[in-house]
């Protein structure tokens, strides 16, 4: 029976650790939301976060969406040709980008670019005692560091998703009209007429959730790091992994809610 208890222990340990981490992250998220609703709000920090999360993410989001939209058009055209459905390229590119690829790709790009940057910055502040220094200077680290970043994630990532959706559709339009022989005005008409309001708001809602997850994970792992440079590296890696997995899981749940009810 000893092998059975060893096996159960081997399964139980990571499950308990995972549940513990989920609980701590949930408490951290709750504290962040509670601090968002109470002053003071550090506007200057929000301004910095707006630039870092939003403005400086535009190039990576734009390029990712552009190439993905173009590749999607090529795939749909070539796949659709198998059952004479090449004409649906504009509609499928539009729905694919707006409902799914736009929010998910932007979310993952934000996880790669912003979550890592937030985690590394806050973790470095932790191991160099800058977080302790904030406390001794009567400044709550959660209010000063976490709230501005998460607030901006909630606001800016939907905006980036909107931009990504448009650029992705534009990527499909370029490929469709320049290489696949679609008429430009027909392509645009088919795109605009096919998209529904629900597609757009669901895309933006996903963006808000993904922005919240991405920035929260960066702050959580940054704040909870230890052990010097190795700890900073581990916090950054863990934050990006957790953000990416949670974004994909949240995408599945949100898609189930938005499009099956």
């Amino acid at each position: 029976m000893s092998w059975l208890s060893t096996l159960l222990a081997a399964i139980g340990r990571p499950v308990l650790a995972g549940l513990g981490a989920l609980g701590r992250i949930s408490i951290f998220a709750g504290q962040t939301i509670a601090h968002m609703l109470r002053p003071p709000i550090y506007l200057k920090e929000i301004g910095h976060a707006l630039m870092n999360v939003g403005y400086f993410s535009l190039p990576v989001v734009g390029l990712t969406a552009l190439f993905t939209g173009g590749a999607l058009a090529l795939q749909i055209y070539s796949g659709g040709a198998r059952f004479n459905a090449e004409a649906v390229v504009p509609q499928i590119v539009a729905i694919g980008m707006v409902r799914e690829l736009g929010p998910v790709l932007v979310g993952l790009m934000i996880a790669a670019r912003v979550t890592s940057s937030i985690a590394a910055e806050i973790a470095t502040m932790k191991v160099t005692e800058q977080i302790d220094a904030l406390v001794t200077l009567s400044t709550h680290p959660m209010k000063y560091l976490t709230v501005p970043r998460v607030l901006v994630g909630l606001i800016m990532v939907p905006a980036l998703v909107g931009v990504g959706d448009i650029i992705g559709i534009f990527g499909g339009y370029i490929v469709g009209t320049q290489s696949l022989g679609f008429n430009p005005s027909t392509y645009l008409n088919n795109t605009v007429n096919f998209i529904e309001a629900r597609d757009i708001w669901s895309s933006l809602a996903k963006g808000a959730v993904f922005g919240f997850i991405a920035t929260l994970m960066g702050c959580y792992y940054g704040m909870n790091t230890s052990r010097g440079a190795a700890g900073v590296g581990r916090a950054t890696k863990d934050a990006v992994e957790a953000a990416a997995i949670l974004i994909l899981a949240a995408n599945f749940i949100l898609t189930s809610i938005f499009f099956t009810i």
């Binding site: 003071p40 550090y42 910095h48 470095t124 502040m125 160099t128 005692e129 800058q130 302790d132 220094a133 406390v135 001794t136 200077l137 009567s138 400044t139």
Partner: protein, 248 residues
């Protein structure tokens, strides 16, 4: 006055503080000495609430620090961190004036900058340093900026965590002298942790030696050399032989 009574703190199985009792009178400079990893920083951070003791009480002027209103409690303190702990993203003057631009001590930005420059001058730095970033400063300059930040809001109590670590002997002497002068002229209560004996002699009115989680010896710095305590003797003379194990 600050009083620690029977303070215990463990990190997992490692018991760092095993019943620390310490009294720091108002307006005096207490230096806590002890080997690396003996809990000096934990002791200091416990007073500030950065570390929560497992048991025991810490009082400031008779009031339990764990029950004090945080903002007004922390407004009474200034702290110089071991590595400076300056905020990389802010220029020097904003680091120094950080507390003066937020919270209950908030004042106009121009006034905060003026005070920051004045404090920089007090620690021997010229106004042109004000607009540099911490990464552009040497280790000694960073310590001075940290010191300027610690005194910017004219606190009643100042904590110094290893103020001379990583500095050459001359710069250590400069920082020690600055600390002594500033504490004396402000009439502040000071608590310093260090294992640098030149700092001890320059800064302390009283010393306490922390070993094995308890205060092994405490008394005026003048009595240190004739204490007769084998632990203190071994430490201040830097002997490998004695009751303190060299490899811990």
């Amino acid at each position: 006055m600050i009083e620690l009574t029977n303070v215990h703190k463990a990190f997992g199985p490692k018991k760092v503080l095993r019943g620390v009792n310490l009294f720091i009178a108002k307006g005096t400079s207490m230096v806590i000495i002890g080997g690396s990893g003996t809990g000096k920083s934990v002791c200091l951070k416990s007073v500030l609430g950065l570390v929560k003791p497992d048991s025991g009480t810490i009082t400031l002027d008779g009031e339990d620090v764990s029950r004090a209103e945080r903002d007004s409690f922390l407004a009474r303190f200034g702290m110089l961190f071991q590595g400076g702990a300056l905020f990389d993203s802010l220029p020097v003057w904003q680091n120094v004036g950080f507390r003066l631009m937020r919270g209950s001590l908030k004042r106009p930005q121009a006034e905060a900058r003026e005070i920051a420059i004045e404090k920089l001058r007090r620690v021997g730095l010229t106004p042109d340093v004000a607009d540099l970033f911490p990464a552009e400063l040497s280790g000694g300059m960073q310590k001075r900026v940290g010191l300027a930040r610690a005194i910017a809001a004219e606190p009643e109590i100042i904590f110094f965590d290893e103020p001379t670590t990583g500095l050459d002997p001359i710069m250590s002497g400069v920082i020690n002298d600055l600390i002594r002068e500033i504490v004396t002229e402000m009439g502040a209560t000071a608590m310093t942790i260090t294992h640098d004996m030149s700092s001890v002699r320059a800064i302390a009115d009283n010393i306490a030696m922390l070993h094995d989680g308890v205060i092994q010896w405490t008394g005026p710095v003048a009595d240190m050399d004739a204490s007769g305590d084998p632990y203190l003797d071994q430490f201040i003379h830097g002997r490998a032989e004695g009751p303190i194990e060299a490899v811990r």
